[in-house]
Symmetry: C2
Subunit: 455 residues, 2 copies
Amino acid sequence: MANVLGWLVSRGNNTEAFVVSSEETFDVIIVGAGCLGVATAYYLQKNSPDKKILLVERTLAAGQANTAMSAAAVRNMFASSTNQLLTDTSIKYFEYVQEELGYDLFFEKTGYLWLLGEEQFNHESVKVWMERMKKSGISHKVYNKEELKAMIPNLNVDFAGDEEAELMNLHEVSYGLFGADCGVLDPTRLVEYYFEEFTKISHVKPRFGVNVEKLLLEADPKLDLPGEPYAWQKKKVNGVVTDKGTIRADVVVLATGTWTNALLDPIGIDSLTKGKKRQLFVIHAEDKEDLQALLDVKGFNELGSIPFTILPSAGVYFRPQLQERGFWIGCGDKVGRAYKYIQNDEDMVPESSYYENSMYPVLSKYFPAFLGARPVNSWAGGYNYSPDRIPFVYLECGVLVVNGASGSGIMKADAMGRIADALYRGEAEAELYGGKKIPSNTLSIKDRDVEVESV
Amino acid sequence: MANVLGWLVSRGNNTEAFVVSSEETFDVIIVGAGCLGVATAYYLQKNSPDKKILLVERTLAAGQANTAMSAAAVRNMFASSTNQLLTDTSIKYFEYVQEELGYDLFFEKTGYLWLLGEEQFNHESVKVWMERMKKSGISHKVYNKEELKAMIPNLNVDFAGDEEAELMNLHEVSYGLFGADCGVLDPTRLVEYYFEEFTKISHVKPRFGVNVEKLLLEADPKLDLPGEPYAWQKKKVNGVVTDKGTIRADVVVLATGTWTNALLDPIGIDSLTKGKKRQLFVIHAEDKEDLQALLDVKGFNELGSIPFTILPSAGVYFRPQLQERGFWIGCGDKVGRAYKYIQNDEDMVPESSYYENSMYPVLSKYFPAFLGARPVNSWAGGYNYSPDRIPFVYLECGVLVVNGASGSGIMKADAMGRIADALYRGEAEAELYGGKKIPSNTLSIKDRDVEVESV
């Protein structure tokens, strides 16, 4: 047969042996110490105690990027049974950590309350949502308008005759859909829990301030040809190139959220995720009686507090913050605000005009207690959306991707970490907290088997 | 009720009436005069003869960007019944244009030939592919190794003992899967056909050299508030901002392929598509007897030519080019070459090293006739991939998106143009050439109803 590679080989070089010896090598490199990164690190190390697992993070501490910017609410009330399973088991694990292990996550079962108009409540998607929750045994309860009015002081439930409300497309409040097993927690505490547990059993000190610039995709096997890998070679990611040098590993975990495209696209893996800027604004109840009364609404939970509450319009929601006696105001806007291919610094800067123009008018229409309220603090971060709003966990060419949590990464972190670990160990199923099992490839791109999330 | 908008309104201005009067207005603006843009323009105008439809294009002529860079092969041999329908009806329309209307598209039924190894041929995905083709009545035929060897001079069907071939992961050739109703055409001729037909019936002269910089997303209704649209407002795209000024329209069609993300992401619509660079290299048969013999292989088609041929390894393929007595060599590489968020100039530049390293070794192993062959010409362009390799056609917020054809836009252009037109006219179904119908929302993101494409 004709020799067609000879001239390629002749152009190669053989410095590889030297290069390898100058680089560190681990079994696993985990990129990103947000909630998904630390949860994955913990389960990987726990179930592969001898492996050398290096956690690297661009910022100077764990959980200080988008995880810290989260509203950090947790709910098991999803429409897809996959999301239900991921969140329900994760939340139960968080309860276990706090109640049984005594590690305070500031997890508080405030509950989740969706306020819905008549038409919204009767929409097919809400029916499917409620049916699937019933089937999965997810706690939920419906309040009618009169009950809500009796429980929540000064709640505006209809806007008849209010021309502004009509211009603002505000739905009336006809029902409240409440989930008692939902709540809020402190995202930094959660990250610290996993991080501490990981470092207790890890053989390698995590490294901060290390920016991963690209994945080291190499021919497998390497032929030391110039410019390889070529189209006809098998390929594998054998490490990462960072601003502090190249580090090698058998498997690279990407828990890089809204920065993932910068690493995967160059090697030809489409993450199918995009970022979106999300902002939170803090309102203190302080000496405002109406806001105090709203914060201390009774009847929904044992805390005697208003639940995490989603308004019927514009995606506006608020989260009670009981330690600081206030509210975090957020908004899950849709068309009209940009998707981001890769999150940039601008996406970390909150815009006061966003509160003033998009949130405040809606918030104060439903809850006049907020009239005149001005934020005392604010921050911004990015959601990492997948097309079906279900996360991705898959292992391909040596890269274990854990992303696409679509704004609910904290509440899915435990389950996603366990699934990532099962994939790493080649297990067909992952066992989630409480013993429920899920096929390890459920959240993959290639063998995806999920219902599209609608809530 | 409390007035919460008053202070917003007070900050507004009322220059809008003036601005509108200085801008042109059309019924439809079509952005992009590639094959999908011109086909859509034609069907829109044909079925809405009174509408003012403006076609704008960044380059200086129709079909001169990625369409012109295409291998311009057409096949109805897909695994998904959706792609089968889109291509089969489009190809039949091209035949009609050439045979009945007498407009020469240089459409030649060379056929398509997949060379496959034993394991590849017996793979579940190939079985599904063949079953679905049978069900849809797509012409296909299987050749065995001996038949192929008898028909194609010097074809290497196995590499036993060839160490290079083993290093190169080359599959043997055990079968050929052939489709007689496939072929090649001239993409520029096809674009010219639709463009000429469109301009015959259009009321507006198409504009070239116009770069659309962003979509004009506005509040609906506009309240003239500063910074609107806000989260609580309905929104609609009412035109485009170009380097030659703002142009308004009821509907904006985006037939912008690998540049779509630059327009949709800023308004918060995730196109779910990404680009990938593809390159073609031209080899002339000239006075090389072996290449002449390969080009003139008999038995596959009435032309007495080798079909469009896909090799079993590395995604390498070639297309016979009968007018210039040569071959175009291409490669559908996978992991290892970058996905592109937005196509840039670099993606239009072919790399000779890509031919030398990734294509030539594979090509010349199977077809030694190519040994020593060097390209006389080359070019590059971008495929616009969707996640399931099925195109997108949907109308959302005033934007009619026609993209994601995943490398087979030319062969789907007629069907996609008809579906786009049906959506524009609010028809529940689109009638494709030959009378077959397809629900207009089949290719949408929200109501997508397709089988994932695997071929």
